[in-house]
Symmetry: C2
Subunit: 205 residues, 2 copies
Amino acid sequence: MKRIITISREFGSGGRELGKRLSDELELPVYDHEIIEILAEEKKLAPEYVGSFSEKSFPLQYAATIANRFSVSYPVSSQQLRLISDQEKLIRKLAEHDCIIVGRAADVLLSGENPFNIFVYADMKSKINRCLERAKPDENLSEGALKSKIKKIARERADYHALFSDSPWGRKESYTLCVNTSGCEIKNLAPALAKYIESWFEARK
Amino acid sequence: MKRIITISREFGSGGRELGKRLSDELELPVYDHEIIEILAEEKKLAPEYVGSFSEKSFPLQYAATIANRFSVSYPVSSQQLRLISDQEKLIRKLAEHDCIIVGRAADVLLSGENPFNIFVYADMKSKINRCLERAKPDENLSEGALKSKIKKIARERADYHALFSDSPWGRKESYTLCVNTSGCEIKNLAPALAKYIESWFEARK
């Protein structure tokens, strides 16, 4: 059975680190920011430009174009629409082989693969602390500014997810396991989590 | 560090079995139905009577009596109110030592112990199948009747939980781990889950 793992995550909860650590534990490739880099390379575009559409809020009309219900009446360039579509194709292509994909609505896009869908979350204090620990020396973000950023990114991810699914981003019923990382170091949780994921795939053989 | 594990669970999702299996894996006592039996024995009451108040819907006025805001204006006997209060005391007493407690709002009652709170859930089809597999030969419950029963018990548990907490029963933010058991045998998941719980307690030492 193919082993596809998707990781949805709140900003600051350690989802990216969990992806890397599960990749080491399970010996599977992980695609997170790499998706932006591959797309930028393929399309000869700046990674920053691609990144600005990779998992951001987007006019909900795009969902309608997918359903072919009515045409886009929003000032969105065809290149921007194509990028989202290209990202979707790339995710499906990557998932032809066992892998871990972080974010970008992969849980919905790959539902036909029967993936192990993780949602990683934490309380606000833990998320702020995690961001502060990892901030660059010149960032100087206040706790208030970080809180706003965390909330803004949550809204963007929820909006992006809504392009592909009626089930809200973060609703536990859509995930195989919801992991609260509050007060925990990801490195201490990853090995046992990898074992759990292996058991789950074994159990469904 | 004390190891208290609470298991909240949707009816039919395998929470009771998970409690027993984690008890074996972690060598900790588990209290589920046992709570009713201990209370019935202490109070010299029929277990069936005690069980009818142990985790059921209950006039929300009880919450107000806890807060001492106003008196009860509901036809509830003092014995019934005392039973809920006695159950709360018993749960706190059991949690003086490492243990696993299933249901009965233990996640809220024991929040001061920094417990590992699990929420076990599954899709409706899996819950119905699980109930059918475990039904007594003379039960003869239709799928429709089972679905109604599953929904009714969910409402009762949510109501009972609301006596003690403003955070809704099943809201993932209140739990350390939310485990979706759809399509899985609990026995295949329990060993790795026990390892994850051990890691979590280690990580928080």
